[in-house]
């Protein structure tokens, strides 16, 4: 569907805008999560084929003609991997934020300028 593709790109751009414009570390992570979701929606909608069913070969699908009846299974598998990696990365980022807050008592990115050139 072209609409889900556009929705995915819109979410991706909103997430990138959030990551670039916000100063709060937690809000930056929320922006990352939104961009991540946008990318998942884009990948899944690329694998969509009109008038076809999910790639699960139960009674809804004629096994001998399965290739003509199911959508692309590869984007679904990729997104499954991407969701798990996204979860792990988000959890790790949040625990970095907790540690940083313990050191400086601040969540603003302006207070962490050691790596700024």
């Amino acid at each position: 569907m072209i609409f889900t593709l556009i929705l995915g790109f819109v979410l991706l751009l909103i997430g990138i805008y959030g990551m670039l414009s916000q100063r709060n570390l937690i809000k930056i992570i929320i922006g990352f999560s939104i961009a991540d979701t946008g990318i998942h929606i884009i990948i899944v909608s690329i694998g969509y084929l009109r008038n076809r069913t999910a790639p699960i070969l139960n009674s809804a699908v004629d096994i001998s003609k399965a290739v003509q009846q199911v959508v692309d299974p590869i984007p679904s598998a990729l997104v499954l991997t991407a969701i798990v990696i996204g979860l792990a990365v988000t959890a790790l980022m949040l625990s970095f934020v907790v540690e940083l807050y313990k050191k400086r008592k601040s969540l603003s990115i302006d207070d962490y300028q050691e790596l700024k050139w």
Binding site: L5, L20, L49, N58, D72, I74, L80, A91
Partner: protein, 223 residues
């Protein structure tokens, strides 16, 4: 003000990068060569109903091994960063305590159902593991001062990870291929005991993901 303008310019630039991709995009009418081979192979070679599962566990099994490794490293990182715990908290309401003791077993059972039926229905090890972790989250919410036995969690996690790799190596020893599903008989298409080693591998992944996520939640609760 300058910052906001720069951010807007960056967004517009990204939009201009994506626009040619989007405006010329055409949805394909047929499966690609690779996807057709996966669908056919899922029926003829692996006896697996769920094509996504056969791609994840067998055809791209090495990638899934890497994915599990990334999840494991994230768990280790979180445990390393947020080690200590402190402070007592207010106990949960009686409503939550009663409900969670009733629901805990049901949710764990549902998680086990999801990962043992990963080759037949939507679902699998990662989804089932997350459901099991939510059961433990409910337990933690109902009893805030409860302590988990981390030794058991670590034993479950490391043994399921180790057995996952052992199954892969058995495929190498039998010269079928690393992480191949055909090391045990494939069974009948569409039945619970089918698809060779796929349900076993997915169960180990489910146990591993469940214990890792429980570990993550438990470490974060300590803050």
């Amino acid at each position: 003000m300058i910052k906001k303008t720069l951010v807007l310019i960056a967004i517009v630039g990204l939009l201009m990068v994506f626009w040619p991709l989007m405006s010329n995009f055409e949805f394909s009418q047929n499966l690609s060569e690779l996807a057709s081979n996966y669908v056919r192979g899922s029926v003829n070679e692996l006896n697996t109903q769920n094509v996504v599962t056969s791609v994840i566990v067998t055809y791209r099994g090495l990638d899934t091994l890497g994915e599990v490794t990334v999840l494991f490293l994230a768990t280790v990182g979180i445990g390393f960063l947020l080690g200590k715990r402190k402070g007592k908290k207010r106990p949960a309401s009686e409503l939550l305590q009663t409900t969670s003791s009733f629901l805990f077993a049901l949710i764990v059972l549902f998680g086990v159902y999801i990962f043992t039926h990963g080759h037949l229905t939507p679902g699998g090890g990662f989804q089932g593991g997350v459901v099991i972790a939510t059961a433990f989250l409910l337990l933690m919410l109902s009893d805030v001062n409860m302590k988990f036995n981390h030794t058991i969690l670590q034993i479950v996690e490391s043994f399921s990870g180790a057995f996952y790799i052992v199954i892969g190596i058995v495929g190498l020893v039998l010269t079928i291929g690393f992480l191949s599903a055909e090391i045990i008989p494939l069974g009948e298409f569409g039945k619970l005991i089918s698809a060779g080693a796929i349900p076993i591998i997915y169960s180990f992944i489910g146990l591993k993901v469940g214990s890792e996520l429980t570990n993550i939640i438990d470490t974060m609760r300590g803050e």
